[in-house]
């Protein structure tokens, strides 16, 4: 499953900039994010609420609505830059599963109707053929008695069933990449585990690549091969899942891991990260985590850190690791692109 970095990635996000223009200010919700996803792997994107996870997911599908717009960077998919208005060309190659399944299904149409809508667009199926295909998809996502369920309305399904139906809808497009935007957050823990299992099975069967977006470190540990940690619109650390959990390189990652219940044994009180995620209203001029960082020193408030290699296939954007070595900066995983300073193409 782990693929060499030299191989052409399925999805290559480079220096993505998404800006929301509100009346009072510009919000750089995604500020120079870069990451890769290779065929068949699961990549995690983890961060707090408001860190820009969902906006990143939506940009990959071209779903950023006004007042937001993609103002820089590239979303490369199979060699095409999607931001160059290529979304329609790759419609269906990338599918998305949203957080709240009850809101992803239109309550006035049957589950089957909505799956058939996607089937009709992407596989040209109609009538009985489409119904059979929809029943097949519901069966694939583990819904019992799919013949009956296909005729039912969303409210007649439980939350877990609904999310399975949403996944079936996504699969109806026959995608290569499945973007899961907090797919288990609205579900209780047992159902959450079932959905994770389902996604893992589907990935094995269909050779899907999955971008898994969540704020739940536990889910990340279970489900992903590699992780990108996002903070205030910037990726602060990227690493294979195992190493990230065993030896986090960025102070933010470290703090996140410390605040998972059960991982730290000493304290009676769970450590938290003081403060809130800042709203990035302009380009970074310092390290955005510095105000909350226990290790922050003077320089952290003066310059934005760049990504530096901190081991095999991993990098962190933190001055602690910079060591003044230019070589280190050049050897960042993502061919020298700088996650923080970003392009000025906007």
């Amino acid at each position: 499953m782990s693929v060499g970095p030299d191989e052409e990635p399925l999805l290559a996000v480079r220096d993505l900039e998404v800006v929301f223009h509100t009346e009072r200010e510009e919000i750089h919700a995604v500020d120079g994010v870069s990451f890769d996803i290779h065929e068949g792997e699961t990549v995690g994107l983890v961060g707090e609420s408001g860190s820009g996870k969902s906006v990143t997911a939506r940009s990959i599908l071209g779903l950023v609505d006004s007042p937001g717009s993609i103002e820089g960077g590239k979303v490369g998919f199979r060699g095409d830059d999607l931001t160059d208005d290529n979304w329609e060309r790759h419609r269906g190659d990338i599918a998305i599963v949203f957080q709240d399944p009850s809101n992803s299904l239109n309550p006035v149409y049957t589950v089957g109707n909505q799956i058939k809508e996607a089937l009709r667009i992407h596989q040209g199926l109609r009538g009985n053929e489409a119904t059979d295909a929809a029943v097949g998809l519901l069966e694939d996502v583990g819904i019992p008695d799919p013949r009956r369920r296909v005729e039912e309305y969303p409210h007649q399904l439980s939350g877990g069933m609904q999310q399975r139906a949403v996944i079936a809808m996504a699969l109806a497009c026959d995608p290569d990449l499945l973007v899961c935007d907090e797919p288990t957050t609205a579900l209780d823990v047992t159902i959450q585990a079932q959905i994770l299992d389902l996604l893992a099975d589907l990935q094995r069967e269909e050779d899907l690549a999955i971008l898994f977006i969540t704020h739940d470190m536990g889910v990340i540990e279970d489900a992903t091969d590699r992780v990108n940690v996002i903070y205030a619109g910037e990726i602060v650390e990227r690493a294979p899942t195992g190493t990230l959990f065993s030896e986090p390189a960025h102070p933010y990652t470290e703090a996140l891991l410390r605040s998972i219940p059960g991982r730290t044994n000493a304290a009676e009180r769970l450590p938290t990260i003081e403060g809130e995620v800042p709203t990035p209203t302009g380009r970074a001029e310092d390290c955005r985590f510095a105000p909350r960082c226990p290790y922050a020193f003077a320089e952290c408030h003066e310059m934005p850190p760049e990504h530096v290699d901190v081991g095999a296939e991993r990098s962190a954007a933190c001055l602690l690791h910079e060591d003044g070595s230019e070589e280190a900066a050049e050897r960042t995983v993502f061919d020298g692109s700088e996650a923080v300073s970003g392009g000025d193409s906007a």
Binding site: R58, L61, L63, D65, S66, P67, E88, R91, G92, I94, A95, I96, F98, D100, N103, S104, L105, N106, P107, V108, Y109, T110, Q114, E117, A118, I121, H122, E151, E152, Y153, H155, Q156, V166, M169, A170, A172, C173
Partner: protein, 477 residues
């Protein structure tokens, strides 16, 4: 589950197919009055087509003639009320009854028929819901059930229904016809009992009208539910010209309804499409539409109306529905803005729902998304605002006719009836203004009540069980 509470038709009738029985009842009902339905449709379309400079006007006339031949159960020929007293009994009326009674029976039967028809439709819906629909519950069921418990809304529905029935069956409901009594009164003769000469005489309708004018306290005036000297029954009395007010009003209801529906339909169409577009694309598109609608709102509607009526007078456009078509276009052109404003909010709300994103993510076309995933959520609001605006449109048409604008005389229009009677309000001919005035108030209240009911039915948060729904908001022009 259907077995537990079988439908009445399922238990009463020796068949396993209630739908077939239902369809058969429908066929019988329709056959009885098919002529009236076709007559209404062809009449409305015919008015539209005969004045347009398009080929096919001759065809329409031919169709109109053909439709008149369709046998109709409740027609003037089957239950006639035009007759005369020959000194010992009534001649030519239904079963030899007095004309007023014959007319009453006909009008009552028409309404009875209409309510049976409505019952048939309701029965069909319940049958479908219980026996044929696969889902045993859909969100719409709750709306219907909430509406059923909404007395004020039901009142509105009944009033609106009766008004529509009046429009559809206008030619049958009147004690006489527009053609005979108003348009060509000097080409038609009536036979009557001349009590002075003690003999049956004939005279022209126009002459008879002159002798039954209601002008203040004159002795010939005919008050509601009275006969004139020519044995003609006038349920609402006569106009100052001696014409029959009831015929005038039923015929005017057709015009009010058609113009109202046309203008509301057009503005609802514009408003809904633009609301969907604004909500889907947001940003600049939305801003542009806000500006456009604000500019249209800033135009003085009345001045625009007077100007266009003058500019267009004499063209074929001004002749459709005696100028009503132009009115409808102007109402639609200026009225969509208010409806758009009201629909934009709900549309923006729906556009935020995730299933819109989901549909976009799998590549559904924008138009299909708007139609399939957004429109169903604003149709409720469309119904509410449409119903309330319709009341407003009817008031506006009446108001304009009262002022002498809009509908050209002699086409019957409610507002003009009020205008005609305004000199006699404080006299013995009080009925001329009062009756149409009350009717307009009633109909507009009905449309607003219907809108209130629909709103409460659609909104699950509103508690329809509290009976103070009458405090709802009013419509208005």
């Amino acid at each position: 589950m259907a077995r537990a509470h079988e439908t009445t038709s399922g238990t009463l009738l020796p068949t396993n197919s209630p739908a077939a029985v239902w369809a058969a009842i429908g066929a019988v009902l329709f056959a009885a009055q098919g002529g009236a339905f076709f007559g209404f449709v062809v009449g409305v379309l015919g008015d539209l087509l005969t004045v347009t400079p398009l080929p096919g006007a001759a065809f329409v006339t031919a169709v109109e003639a053909a439709v008149e031949q369709i046998p109709t159960l409740l027609s003037r020929d089957v239950i006639p009320n035009d007759g005369y007293w020959n000194g010992s009994r009534w001649v030519g009326t239904f079963l030899g009854l007095p004309p007023g009674l014959a007319w009453g029976i006909r009008a009552a039967l028409v309404y009875l028929y209409a309510f049976v028809f409505a019952g048939w439709v309701i029965l069909g819906y319940r049958l479908y819901r219980r026996e044929y629909r696969t889902a045993d519950w859909t969100p719409r069921d709750d709306m219907v059930d909430r509406f059923r418990g909404h007395k004020w809304g039901i009142f509105g529905l009944v009033v609106v229904f009766m008004f529509v029935v009046m429009a559809v069956f206008a030619p049958v409901l009147g004690p006489t016809t527009v053609d005979e009594n108003m348009r060509n009164s000097y080409s038609n003769e009536i036979t009557y009992w001349d009590s002075d000469a003690e003999a049956v005489q004939t005279t022209l309708v126009g002459e008879a009208n002159l002798a039954s004018q209601s002008r203040g306290d004159n002795p010939e005036r005919v008050l509601p539910m009275e006969y004139d000297d020519f044995g003609r029954f006038h349920p609402f009395g006569t106009l100052p010209s001696g014409q029959d007010l009831f015929t005038f009003i039923v015929s005017g209801s057709r015009l009010s309804l058609v113009i109202g529906l046309l203008s509301v339909g057009l503005s609802a169409g514009i408003a809904a499409s633009l609301a969907l577009v604004a909500a889907y694309y947001k940003g600049r598109t939305d801003l542009g539409l806000v500006l456009a609608s604000d500019s249209v709102m800033a135009m003085p509607q009345l001045l625009l109306l007077i100007m266009l009526t003058t500019v267009l007078s004499g063209t074929w456009l001004a002749e459709i529905y005696s100028g009503g078509f132009v009115l409808a276009l102007i109402f639609a052109g200026t009225g969509w803005t208010y409806m758009w404003r009201s629909l934009r909010g709900p549309a923006l709300q729906v556009a935020e729902r995730q299933w819109i994103d989901a549909a976009q993510s799998f590549g559904q076309r924008p138009l299909t998304i708007m139609r399939k995933h957004m429109l169903p959520y604003i149709t409720g609001y469309l119904l509410i605002y449409g119903s309330m605006t319709l009341g407003g449109a009817i008031i506006s048409i009446a108001g304009l006719s009262y002022l002498g604008l809009g509908i050209a005389p002699p086409t019957p229009e409610w507002g003009r009836a009020i205008n005609l009677g305004q000199d006699y309000v404080a006299t013995g001919s009080w009925h001329i203004s009062l009756i149409p005035g009350l009717l307009i108030t009633l109909v507009v209240t009905g449309f607003n009540a219907l809108g209130d009911g629909v709103r409460d039915a659609i909104d699950p948060q509103s508690d329809a069980t509290t009976e103070d729904g009458a405090a709802g908001r009013g419509g208005g022009a």
